[in-house]
Subunit: 408 residues, 2 copies
């Protein structure tokens, strides 16, 4: 993590931990099942988190200290289920199973029949749920809990601003990469780049936000329109036809400008300058509970989501070599260094170190940060190609997938 | 198009046309621009549409007769703009452009400055809009217009039921494939399969529908819950913990069952049996304006979308051979025949005909339909592998991309 100098306290924060989950009592509850689980171990997961704060470092600092605790709390009840070879139970029984008559509520579901004569309840439409999807659900809910804790404690703990959150969890042979914001994770495997996240910005989430603005116009405070226009409309242009997009459209069409279209667009600007309500450039993350449109009483939090997208990478499906890595970085890295350039630096630096040298991954991260910041010249930080370096805080994790001390 | 025999009137309908767009007057309006456009031709587009009706053939028949007219109407105003080499105008001027002072509405957009001293208005944040995205917008709006016409005329014209719609438009070197429903389009190029659509079903659109049910609970009519459960919950299970997903979750987690969870889930069932409100198995399409949950007054249309996803394929970016084709099919085809099997039939049948034989593509479509229906045996229609044939109407277009009479 490197501070760009734009703020006294680093707005990027990071955390890296091995987290132990104490086994809670058997969630199946019946004694036979508890006995069967007797031989199992407590579980632990490896954890890396990157938090890119904005409008202060408070949220990023808090998330870096606590998000993994929330993940642990969500996973703790699942320890037995995750280690069990049978599919997760749909319903946690507190008693042994007994024949039960099916409820018969909605008239159209002909699959639902009375089962009272059966020895065991059978459900004709029972969805199989994988252990993997329980871990995903646990991580999603952990982000939600973290966000709610920030909301609760924001007055006493001074949780300033908000933060993007990118977390990687290694558990039982799989990497779970959870992203809420504009940080990015990629795997570099045998020179190939495998994206492990996508960015959530006003542009990528335009339709979700417009849909909400359309359904809940009161959230727009009579100041904003849910429609998008390619530029500001002038009062003189009333009655003319201008390009627009609504929440349903990917393409553009012309519409006749009416008074209501003169409001400021909910989503406005392009690329790094795109903003929600002219205020914020990321649409997912933690915190921001008090964020309002400047000089107004319009809250922005309803448009932001704290829910990450979780992608799974099964480490056991492929034989990894010591040069295969998972790279996590904040936008300070990715704004100036492309996926391909990152992969090149990885190859270059790793080649300069012995495969069993545990420092080699740290050296890659170090090099990535320095290259992305560049060198201080009279006209600011410059990259090797004389382009502008990142003016942002930069944070990078380089995680070996098949190196010394790997997770299998 | 083949009728499966489950209904007297074929619920699958199709249409194939070359559609001429008369040039309307220059949308730029100024005489100089009109003169410059003088040399241009009227435009036409090639059009194929597949319509898979449900609960009657009315909507499918109407869409097959009229959707291309709506597409023409939307594109007509764009004829001049699409043939112009300069980017589409953001605003259609009825007079020549004059210097205009920018409106300055939202306080945070520092990019917006007064421009009154400038010779031409300049907008610091003006989004570039491509001609391609105007065609996409036109097709999206044409679907909307078609759906609105069905709503208006459903009493007088007896537009029964609804239909999935898959349309391919070839215009100025590009294919635009628009899909609303569970039909599918693929390109087979040099043996490689390129998906040109995705299906919209209760499963693929779960989160969009749950989000709407969450924001507008009145649409659920006190009968349904926006939460998803892996199976029906029994009254006896109140207070127990069961797996669920809400509108934000991809994974699953346990929650304690409360009274409200006993309502029927908005989205329920798996695969072909997945339903919205226990009623309908597709979530996009045209029509269905009167569709209600059985024995209730709960409308389903608010959860359905008539907006297609439009994918673009640039025919000029690749040299196509006579065996390269675009295949459009209703779910009657894809339910029993995989993309790979379709590609194999394409190769096999085309090899049996001369490259310049224009019937060869019709023969492929014919063969795909027959193979997917199978042969009538004592236990119903059977495929070559003795699996059950498609019990559904089956429709297929096989469109040559580089064959005789291609579009370039």
């Amino acid at each position: 993590v490197i501070n760009a100098g734009k703020s006294q306290h680093n707005e990027d924060q990071a955390c890296c931990q091995v987290v132990l989950m104490d086994r809670s009592c058997s969630p199946r509850g019946d004694p036979a099942s508890q006995e069967a689980e007797g031989g199992r171990q407590d579980l632990c997961f490896h954890y890396w988190g990157l938090f890119d704060g904005h409008a202060g470092s408070g949220a990023a600092v808090m998330a870096s200290k606590l998000l993994h605790h929330h993940i642990r709390d969500q996973l703790r009840d699942l320890v037995g289920i995750l280690q069990d070879s049978s599919p997760p139970p749909i319903c946690l029984q507190s008693n042994s199973r007994a024949p039960l008559a099916e409820r018969n509520r909605a008239p159209l579901a002909e699959e639902d029949v009375e089962l009272s004569n059966d020895a065991l309840p059978r459900f004709h439409l029972e969805k199989a749920v994988s252990r993997e999807s329980l871990v995903i659900g646990a991580i999603e809910n952990a982000f939600k809990q973290m966000d709610e804790q920030m909301a609760r404690e924001r007055t006493t703990q001074l949780v300033a601003g908000g933060c993007c959150a990118l977390a990687a969890v290694y558990l039982l042979g799989k990497f779970y990469v959870a992203n809420a914001g504009d940080s990015r994770a990629i795997i570099i495997r045998n020179g190939e780049i495998i994206p492990m996240s996508r960015e959530f910005t006003p542009e990528t989430e335009r339709q979700r936000l417009q849909f909400l603005g359309f359904l809940r116009p009161e959230l727009l405070g009579n100041e904003f329109t849910h429609l998008e226009f390619p530029r500001r409309i002038q009062h003189k242009e009333l009655g003319k036809k201008m390009l627009y997009r609504d929440q349903n459209m990917s393409g553009w069409a012309y519409k006749r400008i009416v008074e209501d279209d003169l409001k400021f667009p909910l989503i406005y600007g392009e690329g790094k300058k795109a903003r929600v309500m002219a205020t914020i450039g990321v649409t997912r993350g933690l915190g921001d509970h008090d964020l309002k449109v400047y000089n107004s009483n319009i809250h922005i939090k309803p448009f932001l989501s704290c829910v990450p997208e979780v992608r799974v990478y099964d480490l056991t499906q492929y034989e990894h070599c010591p040069d295969d890595v998972l790279v996590l970085g904040t936008d300070g890295l990715w704004d100036v260094t492309s996926d391909r350039e990152v992969a090149e630096v990885v190859t270059e630096v790793l080649m300069g170190h012995e495969p069993n040298d545990p420092c080699r991954y740290t050296m890659v991260a170090h090099e990535l940060v320095l290259r992305s910041r560049g060198v201080l010249k009279e006209r600011g930080w410059r990259l090797a190609n004389d382009k502008l370096g990142s003016g942002d805080d930069i944070s990078v994790f380089v995680i070996p997938l098949g190196g010394p001390g790997n997770y299998t």
